[in-house]
Symmetry: C2
């Protein structure tokens, strides 16, 4: 009868401390989303398979988990699939509920998604996504709000970050002015390697990828772009002067930088930051100041290129080598696949698992997440138990999470329980305490003990 | 290309207001669980099919949703299933993580479950369960804690409830003393109909179900049990004097009533309550007082009889006709199926969907759940927008959820947006306000307007 229990590959159990830490991340994110007027929605885990198929490319289709009723005949094709991301269900939601929604629709959604990927370190078959989007307007104020949210979330979590900003129209413009409008992706990939392999090798790769010498020559001013953001934008404006799309992209970038300045966020990365980062990495100290967010114009940024139509965002932690922890962009046709064209939106997604790893690596989780319970009352007999129950009631009424050890047992065992659960205070009631209507309060960190009244107990713990 | 979007039968989307209300329920429950020292865990949506099969009876097996990778060959049998409840995954979790857990293990879990039931009103294929359990001790203090949690959750939600309490050992004792130890279920079902069909009809049904006349006669003192809880318990003690199991059950009931008394909960239902209830139903007023919880000894209560071994709980709303909104009991062998026998536990489950319906019916959801956003700033031009962004920043720093309408458009449209989102205040900035560094604050409920400074704005809204 006995089975050796396990869970499917690529899935996880979350225990008490892990959950407290995950909730700390989710709650922080939710609070900030709410502060900016975003409302939470939820969609079902299962979608009709027709809603999901063909939305994630051929590879994506293969990674869908299909769901089948047990009772159904095996021959009956399954018609449902597990949510693969939050974007397609959101698009479906907007179209299905268009009559009830007031646009611009500011929504966030924090739910698990499932992918039949080969499980490996840091890649799971079930993981949470935290998406926040504004849909139904094309004002760049929405881009600003998302950047403000990024700043506020990471300030609250104590993670120093740099926000990388690009614009799809600029990328299209670059491809256009060098006479290779269909090679945008090749060009972006090549630019991306500049830091690692150097200018000469990039030029070689561009030729290999089929660009001609003339096109590569025309690209040199882009590859050698330098200076402050303002200087780069001025240079881009000149380089892209023949491309209407490219100039529109430059304008959008300029406007986003202008708005972030007006909203009190600094608009420019400090060129000395990279050295500081290394020092911070060594010191492993919480070093984020109130001075604001670094925002860096980054022409290499090309995430989800086929999908985005304007701004593209990516956020990296300055003090951890972990890749992107938040990303997103502007899209113009999210709902078109469901028959509602021309609805512009912009959104970002927070990577909870990676944020968890950064907070762990930098030791930034608050100590208090080890245990919600503040006090444990020991139990050594019936009368002591009755007193503990009364006192516990008073503490809980004061909002203090409190436990009463449920049965009389050895002191060592009860102390061990408090220790394992990281409960900071133990209130001991023996015969003496009982007759004096006091408890012996033990500080589990210092080991100090003091005999105190109920009033003193509440004050000490609060 | 266009598809008409929909979701699978029996599943639901939750929009902004619905989610705010659901979160209000979940957050209230979570806060109370935490106050009593319970820790949250989560398990994966998918379990190995072998973990689930055979745990819910033959009918249950048919209601499991199976999960299959899309890429897998169709012939390959699916080996994973969606979580059907939180109990079996919890048992699996305890056995799998036994080395890391400190017992008694107080955990709660709030996650969706999936059942391929025929969808109908109030029955869904995806719904949340909220389970709270103590496992690894058999002290009745744990029963007390769960009763305290019930009292506190419903006091906070403003729902007047009665907790029905029974004990499986008492039911077994009754069957034993009337000489029909294998007919416990028949007897309980018959007792349950007493109120509806009367004593004579119940006796007839018992005979039909195969009890003999002598057994039915022996059952009469049970069927005619009346008086206060103390009187009923005294009578039971006498009736069950020949059954060791039965007497143990009576003792457990007595102890639970004693503990609830000691912890300051009233132990007895007021016999006049049922008339009050009808009056309250008519008045639809929030009428729950601080006087505590009604606890009723209820011998008809038999939920999950094969599963429970001691206390059995069920909670009903006094002011709504909706059946059980919380239930549970003591079990002695939850983890036995996974090879870890002899671990006693006790748990209850809150029915979020039914609680939602009760709060809706009794109009008990706080008004503030209509919108988290407190203020909307209008946008009529670039300079006004810049001022709105600065002011919005100040309000958010004061913790006030604030929105800025993202683009200049007609007043009517912006007011309509605030209206639809139930935002209580709109801050209007026109040319005059801009030059005076003030806003025209409109109260959306009363229609009143006043010209005020940033400081006054923060104070007014706080």
């Amino acid at each position: 009868m006995a089975q050796k229990p396990s869970i499917p590959k690529g899935t996880r159990d979350f225990g008490a401390v892990e959950m407290a830490r995950r909730n700390y991340i989710f709650d922080t994110i939710k609070e900030v989303f709410t502060l900016y007027g975003f409302s939470q929605i939820e969609t079902p885990a299962m979608e009709n398979i027709s809603t999901l198929m063909g939305k994630y490319g051929e590879e994506g289709d293969k990674l869908l988990f299909r769901v089948q009723n047990s009772g159904e005949k095996a021959a009956l094709a399954p018609e449902k699939g597990l949510r693969y991301d939050l974007t397609v269900p959101f698009a479906r939601y907007v179209v299905q509920h268009r009559e009830e929604i007031s646009f611009p629709f500011k929504r966030f959604q924090i739910q698990p998604v499932w992918r039949a990927d080969r499980p490996q370190k840091g890649r799971y078959r079930e993981f949470y996504q935290c998406d926040v989007d504004v849909i139904g307007n094309d004002s760049l104020v929405s881009e600003l709000e998302l950047i403000q949210i990024v700043e506020e979330v990471y300030r609250r979590l104590g993670i120093r970050v740099c926000l990388h900003l690009n614009n799809r129209k600029v990328l299209a413009g670059i491809a256009e002015v060098i006479g290779a409008p269909d090679r945008m992706m090749d060009i972006t990939v090549a630019i991306d390697k500049l830091d690692k392999i150097g200018l000469e090798a990039v030029n070689g790769e561009l030729l290999e990828r089929g660009l001609n010498a003339e096109q590569v020559a025309a690209l040199q001013p882009i590859l050698q772009l330098s200076g402050t953001t303002a200087e780069k934008l001025t240079a881009l404006r000149s380089i892209l002067r023949e491309s209407e799309t490219g100039l529109k992209g430059v304008e959008e970038l300029e406007e986003v930088f202008r708005l972030t300045g007006a909203a009190g966020l600094t608009g420019e990365a400090d060129p000395t930051v990279k050295n500081e980062v290394n020092r911070a990495l060594v010191a492993k100290k919480r070093s984020y100041s109130e001075s604001g967010l670094s925002i860096e114009l980054d022409l290499c940024l090309a995430r989800g290129l086929n999908y985005y139509t304007g701004a593209i965002f990516e956020v990296k932690a300055l003090d951890a080598q972990i890749g992107s922890i938040t990303g997103g962009g502007r899209y113009d046709n999210l709902t078109g696949i469901f028959g509602m064209p021309g609805v512009s939106g912009v959104g970002i997604s927070f990577g909870a698992d990676r944020i968890y790893d950064v907070l762990t690596e930098l030791n930034l989780f608050p100590e208090s997440l080890q245990s919600h319970t503040r006090v444990l009352f020991t139990t050594f007999g019936q009368d002591e138990l009755m007193m503990a129950l009364r006192w516990a009631k008073a503490l809980r009424e004061a909002g203090i999470p409190t436990e009463v050890y449920p049965e009389p047992t050895k002191m060592k065992r009860q102390m061990g329980y408090a220790d394992q659960k990281h409960i900071p205070w133990v209130a001991i009631i023996g015969g003496d305490e009982l007759s004096q209507e006091k408890v012996m309060l033990k500080n589990m960190t210092t080991g100090e003990q003091q005999l105190i009244s109920l009033e003193q107990l509440v004050t000490t713990i609060q």
